[in-house]
Amino acid sequence: MEWISAIMQGTLLGGLYALFAAGLSLIFGVMRLVNIAHGDLIVLAAYMGLSTTVMLGIHPFMALLIVMPAMAGIGYVLQRGILNRTLGGDILPPLLVTFGLSVILQNTLLELYSADPQKMNAGVIETASVPVGGLTLGVLPVLTFAIAIAVIAGLQFIFYRTALGRAFRATSDNSDIAQLMGLNKAHVFGMAMALALAVTAIAGILLGVRTSFDPSVGGARLIFGFEAVIIGGLGNLWGTLAGGVILGVAQTIGAKIDPGWQLLAGHIAFLVVLAIRPQGLFPRVDH
C-alpha cells in the first residue's frame, strides 16, 4: 500500500514536471530554440507570485491573473528584443545567450529577494486531502495534475485548431514561405514565447505553493522539464505528460528506498530511456 501510495504521489508530481516541460517543448517545436533560462523563468514567476500575494494580499491562484499576462509580456519582449536575433543555423548564439540570461535572472533575484528560501501560502488547500480507494491524496497535488492536463489539452487545441497554432506550425515548417503568407516571423515567435511563458507562470505559482524556493533552484527545474520532454519523446505534449509522470514516479520510489536517492533515481530513469529508446517513449508520428 505504501508503494502504491508512492506511485500515486509520483504520478501527481509528474503533472508539475509536465508543466515545467510544456513551455520548453512548445518553443522548441515552433522555433527550435532550447531556452537554458527556462527554469529561472519558472522561478521568476514564483517570485512574481510571491510579491503579488504579499502586496495585494490575495490568494496565489488569484495572483495568476497578474503573473500570467506579465510573464507573457516578458516573453514577447524577450523574444522580439533579444532571442529572435540569435536564431539561425548556428546553435551557439541561442544557447549562450539564454545561458547568460539564466545567470542574470538568478543573480537579479538574489539581489532583490536574497538567498533565503520563500514559500507562498495557499491556505487550507495545502493540507487538505481526499481519500481515494484507501489512499489519501493531497488536494493540491491532485489539482496540479488536473491543471497540467487542462493546460496540455489547451495547448493542443491552440496548436491544432486555431489560426495562431496554424501560424506556429507554418512558421516552424518554413519561415520564408510563412512570411509570404503575411506572417511576420518575429511576431509569431514572440507569440510562441508569450504563450510558453504564460504556461511557465502557472508552473511557477504551483511550484511556489508546493515547496519553498530560492533563486538557485531554476537549473533543477529546467533539468526536470527537459527530462520529461526527452522521456516522453520530442514534439508530443501528451508524451511529455507521460514523461513527467515517469520521472515523478522514479523520484518518489527512489526517495522511498533512500531519501538521498530521490533525484538520482529520476536521472537514472532518464538515462535508461535515453539508452534504450533515444527517440523517447512516445515520439510524434508525422502523418
Partner: protein, 236 residues
Amino acid sequence: MPDPVLSLRKLDAHYGDFQALFGIDMEIAAGEVVAIIGANGAGKTTLLRSIAGLLKNQAGQVSYQGDTIGALRADQVAQKGIALVPEGRQLFPSLSVEENLLIGAQTGRAGQWSLGKVYALFPILKERKDQASTTLSGGQQQMVAIGRALMANPDLILFDEISLGLAPVIIKSIYDALPDIVGDGMTAMIVEQDIGKALSVSSRAYCLQEGRVSLTGATDTISRDDITRAYFGVEA
C-alpha cells in the same frame, strides 16, 4: 502606358558577394499578364523574390500602386496585395490541404477568392481537404500552392515555374485554369522555362539574361529568333 501597378527602377539584387540582378527596369500595368523568360540562372526567381520581399532592396527600387515597397518585409508586401506561388510549391507539410489554403488568407484582404471558390476551381482539393499536403500528387500540390496564393486575394500574383516537374497533361490542366484566375483583372507575372507555355497566356514578355533585361515586347510581335538571341546572347 497608364499608371503602372508595379514598376522596378534600376533593381539590383545580391546573394552575399554575388550579384544576381543588374539595374532591372520594368513596368507592369493593371490587368496585364507578363511572361518572364530566360535561361537557368538568368535571375528570374531572384526577380520574383525581390518583388515579394524575400530579398531586401532599397525602398525606391520597387514601387507598387504608388508606394515604394523595396525595403519592406515579405509579410508587409503580402499585406499590400502581392502573392507569390513559389518554385517547387513549398507547401507546409505540417498543415492539411485546407489549412494550407486557409493560411493563404492570413492577410485578411477582402476579395472574391474564398475556400469555396478555390474548391470550385480545383474540385479535387475539396475531396482531399483533410489530408496532409505531403500525400498529394505533384499536380495537386501545385493546385494547393496556387489556391493558397489566391486566398490572399492579391492584386498582383507571381507564378514561379509552375510547370516544373509536372507531367504534360497536368501542366495543360493548370494552364487551362489560368485564364479563370487572371480573367478578373488580376495582374500576373509568370516565370517559366517553357517559353511556349509562358507566351501562350501572356500579352507581353521580358527576357532576362545574366541578370539583365535582354529583350522586351508584346508576345505577338517578338519572333523566335529574337528570343533565341535574347535567351542565349548569341546570334542564332
